[in-house]
């Protein structure tokens, strides 16, 4: 099995799709000669040329809108929005246009568009380059939302997103581009709406997304040393959501922690908590704990940034809370 970085895995999915299908092309800011601000599309200009690896002006509304228009003609564009903070500029096109053309037309249209974007804290870019906004899009019927946390997942999920006939918001995490994983020789598509159980456990289920999947796996290792067996579930697709895998896990463990880098307030974890309490109420032995960033913009100074976003120790604190081993209740601020 070859080992790929998360960055290489994204590039591999894009390149394989473009090799087999003339209808797939990519467009975005600085994606051609520069290879994208995260280096994801490096080398693709040489292979596919400037028509299909299409540099754009700094013009998010038009980039996303052009993707929508080409998708409605049956192409499968992949738009790169450089930072998810900048999806705010394209919100009208994403929310009012991409998500609704099919519905408003009574099913006459399809919008097979993928919008790749990335974000996240951990490198002190400050408040406008580090947000985690994935939950906003889960609130919009007509969109699908993916948040991949490993190289094999990002490759298989991006492939499925490109070949999905609906608009897909595809989130990558800035700090994950360098991580590596053995991936199958042949690209294996991962169906949207299928969770991945990273680690099986008996006592607590941690439902985590993005960077927090890795923090949760680390926390689970520490918990194990304390005699607490933790199951780590990554939904991978936030919309549609694999509710069954999450609920079945909680029915087994009877405890649940939700964890993401985005703020907890109205975060994706709130939705998971609502689903779990509704579908597994009688199985719960403890309140569901939520882990996320403190409710502030992401600050610049590294000491503040580090303190604001959650880490494995915060997940561990939440795990301890659910098994009644917390010394003080909810003092960390990351846990609600």
């Amino acid at each position: 099995m070859p080992e790929l970085s998360y960055r290489e895995a994204v590039r591999d999915a894009l390149s394989q799709a473009m090799r087999q299908d003339d209808d797939v092309f990519i467009l975005g800011e600085d994606i051609a000669e520069m290879g994208g601000s995260m280096g994801v599309t490096q080398g693709m200009l040489d292979e596919f040329g400037p028509e299909r690896v299409r540099n754009t002006p700094i013009s998010e509304m038009a980039i996303v809108g052009a993707g929508i228009g080409a998708a409605m003609q049956g192409m499968r564009p992949v738009v790169e929005v450089m930072y998810e903070d900048f999806t705010t500029l394209a919100m009208e096109q994403i929310v009012n246009q991409a998500a609704k053309h099919r519905y408003m037309s009574g099913g006459q249209l399809k919008v097979p568009l993928t919008i790749r974007t990335q974000g996240g804290a951990g490198w002190s870019p400050g408040a406008q380059h580090a947000q985690q906004l994935e939950a906003w899009f889960v609130h919009v019927p007509g969109l699908k939302v993916v948040f991949a946390s490993t190289p094999s997942d990002v490759r298989g999920l991006l492939w499925s997103s490109i070949y999905d006939d609906n608009p897909v918001m595809f989130f990558e995490h800035r700090t994950l581009y360098g991580i590596k994983e053995d991936v199958p020789e042949e690209l294996e598509p991962i169906p949207l709406g299928q969770a991945r159980i990273h680690r099986e456990g008996e006592d607590v289920t941690v439902v985590a997304t993005g960077r927090l999947v890795h923090e949760a796996i680390a926390a689970a290792g520490e918990a194990e040393a304390e005699g607490v067996s933790v199951e780590v579930v990554d939904p991978r697709t936030l919309l549609p959501l694999d509710e069954a895998t999450i609920v079945d896990s909680v029915k087994k463990t009877n405890r649940c922690v939700v964890a993401h880098e985005a703020v907890t307030r109205m975060g994706f974890g709130a939705e998971v908590a609502a689903i779990v309490q509704h579908q597994a109420f009688d199985y719960l032995d403890a309140p569901i704990e939520r882990v996320g960033s403190r409710f502030v913009p992401i600050p610049f100074a590294p000491v503040m940034e580090e303190w604001v976003v959650p880490h494995s120790n915060d997940v561990l604190a939440a795990i301890r809370q659910t098994v009644g081993r917390s010394e003080s209740s909810n003092g960390a601020g990351h846990v609600e």
Partner: protein, 323 residues
Amino acid sequence: MAQVERKGAVSEELLREFYREMLLIRRFEEKVEERFRAGELPGFLHVAIGQEAVAVGVCRALQDDDVIASTHRAHGHTLAKGTHPNELMAELYGKVEGCSKGYGGSMHLYDVERGNLGANAVVGGGLPGIVGAALAFKFRDEPRVAVAFFGDGATNIGTFHEALNLAQLWLVPAVFVCENNGWAESTPAHQQLPIDDLSKRAEAYGMKARRVGGQDVEEVFAAASEALEHARGGDGPVLLVCDTFRLTGHYVGDPQVYRPRDELARLRETEDPIEKLSARLDLTDEDVQEIEAEVVEIVEGSVEFAKAGTDPQPEDALKNVYA
């Protein structure tokens, strides 16, 4: 689709067809106003009375496989692009037989088979998509053009500028048709536009532009034909500004408190595009009566068709969210 020699005179026969289509749109819109006031039509309606020459002049210059994106004031474009009045009226009544199957309504009219990619209730919302459709035509080397309709108010929003910039940069086969009626809802041009000649906005992007009298269907048709040929030939997009008049309120029921009381009556006398065309044609009283009777019958028939249509089931609301 009629292919006429451009720049020369449009044949009398074709002008008569334009007259009939414009009158059909007019009578359709008047019927919409009437049925809305009768309480039969739900939602929010904007009629295109006064702007018929732009819809007909542009759409009759299109080829069948060209595509359009329309605006909240979409009935005229939709009819001119070939949607049957029955399907349009059924949509306004929220029926399954409607052109958007009851999911869209007046502000979201679609007829994909006939190249209508959707009316858009967000001002300027459809322009970037038209750039993308045109890009697809260019990728596939198809001799098709994508056309966006929008009003003067939309030239102030970012999508207009981003779309024109991108379209010209990539030289995609698109035509941007500005229906310059001098009003952004209730706000007059002098309160929302710092320049008079909106075609100048294309200059900033190096884009070819034309400004024509939008009450003269022949002029619109000629200019649109030229713009489409330019775009189709690979020479890039065109901004076509049609100066027109909204001979009605912003929406059906608009009391127009913002508009001088006598203005509308005066403009209806002097700027009615159908009257202007009629004056040019050698129509006998019999001709006029015949065409009038024909379009009225079609419009009445559309109301009957719509009323006899099928209401969706409430739970049909769950369909068509995802492909």
